[in-house]
């Protein structure tokens, strides 16, 4: 089947809003295409492929070089379009390329398993020639897909859940099974597709795969009406959500992003393999402050995530810990259908067994989460407010009777996050957005007062409604002081309430502080710039917290 079909599928999925229609379109596609192409399609649609073969910048330079096109003109176009792959696609339309032979029947499989991998083996000059050749021989309606795959920016509005549903409907097998089959590694092949759509269910085959994660929802008012005794309370850690799977003696560490991270955390793999039983644990990976028995900041964990085979020194400098909060499987038996309160009993039982019976010490890297026992709902609030002191983000509230289903299942688990910190700041720079926000000024920088000067302290992209974005965009265009490429400096006039989660000292920033997850929570049209906060206020806030 041709790449054209996949381009059409992309176009359809991109222009359909209704979930049911998307499922229909996907089913139709899966039914009418070769298994190998379906496998690649799933690979792309579930975002398992985001490998970047060349950068967007490279693509733009190459186009400019080949067709003698001014770079500044491509950059101007980019501001309007917001996506390098799409800009080049649109510009290619404008090149009347006549090649005698068009490759009309290239398949998705050929593109992904032959043509593109072959590209990365070429030297730069050959590679450039080959890309030019492909641009000129691929049919025009395949250009966008080709460019997007090259630049690793293929994304379309379908979730893994939607793909799961379509396959489930296609073969009439429960979604849970499909979503489990889709977990973990997925190597596109006829086999992997056949495995996905196979009618008989053999749980053994899911052995290497983690369970689909169960996620918490934002707190809802209605839960306060229930008895406090119906719930289990835990701290909400700010680390990496992880399942540790030990089956047939082999340990694998799977993140919620479905990445196998054994290589990054060898000390954890080693210690967990000392445990004699097979199990699946769900929990959080953190860099741990052993002196104070609290988590270190997420930024320290980031120093470990992308580093494979860390040295002893790194391991000592950023000591990790896995805090388990759930036991999902023991001795090969799936216990997800057991109530949470009973799973907890099992978790505690096994943890103490492992703690005492394992020859090597494992408790320096593995513990189970402490539960919190508030007396009533107002007590819950008190705990929540305390969470900053122990470097957690708030509380997780779980129904004691909940079974471990999957996804963001409603009405069983909630996160109750601590209120954000806030400062009023002045808008001082704006930059053009990309993707869906192309052509609008949507990336904002905010300043706080220091003497008579506004010092940049945070950038934020989110928090305004579409109507506000349009209104602000208009204002920005009229109140620009200077342009530096895509960035405009602005007349200080607009005040915004900025919310953020953490504030700490940073030498990298001129302001001397860095904040985590800054976002706009209110456009303070009622405030003048002199009413905005100063850097001094920010420092005070920081002192108050630590």
């Amino acid at each position: 089947m041709s790449l054209k079909k996949f381009s059409e599928l992309f176009g359809d999925l991109d222009s359909i809003n209704s979930t049911n229609n998307k499922i229909e379109v996907l089913k139709r596609y899966f039914l009418s295409n070769e298994q190998i192409d379906n496998s690649w399609a799933i690979y792309l649609l579930t975002g398992k492929s985001n490998k970047r073969f060349i950068s967007g910048r490279y693509l733009k330079n190459l186009f400019s070089q080949i067709y003698e096109y001014p770079q500044w003109l491509i950059d101007t176009c980019y501001l309007k379009v917001g996506d390098s792959a799409e800009v080049i696609t649109l510009l290619l339309k404008n090149k009347t390329i006549s090649k005698a032979k068009k490759l009309s029947n290239i398949s998705l499989n050929e593109l992904l398993s032959e043509i593109i991998p072959a590209l990365s083996k070429l030297n730069e000059e050959e590679k450039n020639l080959e890309i030019k050749n492909l641009w000129e021989t691929l049919p025009e309606d395949n250009h966008l897909i080709f460019n997007k795959i090259l630049t690793g920016t293929f994304r379309v509005g379908v979730s893994i859940g939607l793909i799961t549903k379509s396959i489930s409907k296609l073969i009439n097998i429960d979604e849970k099974i499909i979503s489990h089959r889709l977990m973990g590694d997925f190597k596109p092949s006829i086999d992997s597709y056949e495995f996905l759509i196979k009618k008989n269910i053999n749980l053994q085959e899911l052995n290497s795969k983690p369970f689909p994660f169960l996620l918490a929802n934002t707190i809802e008012d209605k839960i306060f009406k229930h008895s406090i005794n119906d719930f289990q309370f835990e701290w909400k850690y700010d680390g990496i959500r992880m399942q540790i799977i030990k089956r047939s003696g082999n340990v694998s560490l799977w993140t919620r992003g479905q990445e196998l991270v054994n290589e990054s955390f060898p000390e954890l793999v080693k210690k967990m393999s000392y445990i004699k039983d097979d199990f699946v644990l769900d929990g959080e990976l953190l860099v741990w402050n052993f002196k104070e028995q609290i988590a270190f900041d997420f930024s320290l964990l980031q120093k470990r995530i992308n580093r494979k085979s860390p040295t002893r020194t790194i391991q000592m400098k950023y000591p990790i810990i896995f805090i388990a909060y759930d036991l999902l499987e023991i001795h090969g038996k799936d216990i997800r259908e057991i109530k949470l309160e009973n799973r907890r009993i099992e978790l505690e039982k096994y943890f103490s067994k492992w703690h005492y019976k394992t020859e090597n010490n494992i408790s320096d890297i593995f513990k189970i989460c402490d539960l919190i026992y508030p007396k009533d709902w107002s007590d819950v609030l008190t705990y929540k407010e305390k969470s900053r002191e122990n470097n957690t983000e708030g509380l997780i509230i779980k129904k004691k009777t909940s079974i471990y289903s999957s996804g963001r299942k409603k009405g069983i688990w909630w996160k109750y996050k601590v209120d954000p910190m806030q400062l009023d700041a002045v808008l001082i720079y704006a930059k053009g957005g990309s993707g869906r926000r192309a052509g609008l000024y949507t990336d904002y920088s905010f300043g706080l007062w220091k003497d008579q000067e506004l010092i940049k302290f945070a950038s934020a992209y989110s928090g305004l409604t579409n109507i506000e974005i349009k209104e602000l965009d208009k204002w920005i265009r009229k109140n620009t002081l200077e342009k530096f490429g895509p960035v405009r400096s602005l007349k200080p006039e607009m005040v915004f309430e900025i919310s953020f989660e953490k504030i700490q000292i940073s030498k990298r920033h001129k302001s001397g502080i860095a904040v985590r997850f800054p976002r706009i929570t209110k456009w303070r049209k009622d405030k003048k710039i002199n009413d905005a906060d100063s850097l001094e206020n920010a420092y005070e806030l920081m002192k108050k917290i630590s």
Partner: protein, 327 residues
């Protein structure tokens, strides 16, 4: 050295103005004498003493705003004199009756492009190449990312879009004057043979086109009380102003699309709120603008109605054409 005073035509209060003739082109505020390039509302304002346009533009305008305006009309190519300046209308290919306006004074030629396109459109006269010394051109789509597909390809896409969802009512939003008639003309040549309805404002313009001798497929005027079942699988043309608000509640099980040049960009398509976008425009694309600039043989070019920065820079650097700015 020329000073701005010497330009025959300049910008004044946001509109083009010829001082020697004391005449305005598509003014946005009431004036004495106004030349009107075409009958879209963003090129027309009430309250002028006298309007001058082509015959077709005059008829369309009166149909839209009533007979209560004084319009003098001229044929395409017919020269008339005001204060010694020769003025004439020439087809601009934008919509029925649309025109470029040429001024000749003291052997100096000025051409105002009006809104224009070069693409095929059977519902109006093809753009006419007019030679000039000074060109004032629109540049709504003045970036090379804009390259229009043939209009019959778009019409086929629209036809497929409707027939692929036979259980739905397909609402296609487009400007009532010009775009709607061009689409009707193109769609009637595709495989789609179902019913086509149009909103009152579009229906009225269809009739005017027909009276002016343009062959437009007959459509059914959409009534609010139409039975839902009857609309299944049919196409309804509506003006964009109805896309937001309660009007859509009159229909069940719909899919929506917008026909506009801006729909060639994915981000704009996504932001528009329509299910689908069809990139078809009555304005020139990048190549169209460049072609007109070159073929007009203008030594000096001004741009308006659009972001002209990149286009100007390109013409100066690559084509050595003198691009001027209105002050």
């Amino acid at each position: 050295m020329k000073t701005k005073k010497e330009y025959l035509i300049r910008y004044k209060n946001g509109s083009l103005y010829c001082e020697l003739a004391d005449i305005w082109i598509d003014p946005s505020k009431p004036v004495n004498k106004a030349l009107i390039t075409h009958a879209h509302f963003d090129h027309f304002t009430f309250g002028c003493e006298e309007y001058i346009s082509t015959k077709e533009t005059a008829i369309l305008l009166k149909e839209r705003v009533g007979d209560n305006i004084k319009i003098k009309t001229f044929e395409y190519g017919e020269e008339f004199k005001i204060n010694g300046i020769n003025i004439s209308f020439h087809p601009s290919g934008h919509i029925l009756g649309s025109s470029q306006i040429r001024f000749i004074f003291a052997e100096e030629k000025w051409l105002i492009s009006g809104d224009f396109k070069l693409q095929k459109d059977e519902t109006c006269k093809q753009y006419e190449i007019v030679k000039t010394d000074y060109l004032i051109s629109e540049c709504t789509f003045g970036l090379p990312i804009f390259k229009w597909d043939e209009s019959n390809k778009i019409a086929n896409d629209i036809s497929k879009w409707i027939t692929n969802s036979p259980e739905k009512t397909s609402l296609l939003f487009c400007y009532s004057l010009g775009k709607a008639q061009r689409l009707l003309n193109e769609i009637s040549q595709t495989n789609f043979k179902g019913n086509i309805y149009s909103h009152g404002s579009i229906h009225k313009m269809n009739n005017s086109y027909r009276e002016l001798g343009i062959d437009i497929k007959d459509t059914i005027k959409i009534e609010n009380k139409k039975k839902i079942d009857e609309l299944k699988g049919s196409l309804i043309l509506l003006p964009p102003s109805l896309s937001k608000g309660s009007y859509l509640k009159n229909f069940k099980n719909i899919q929506t699309a917008f026909a506009s040049g801006w729909m060639s960009i994915r981000a704009l398509r996504k932001r528009s709120g329509y299910d689908k976008g069809f990139a078809i425009s009555d304005h020139a694309d990048w190549d169209g603008i460049l072609e007109v600039v070159k073929k007009s043989e203008a030594k000096n070019v001004f741009f308006h109605h659009g972001d002209s920065e990149a286009l100007s820079k390109y013409l100066v650097e690559k084509e050595s054409i003198n691009v001027l700015l209105f002050r």
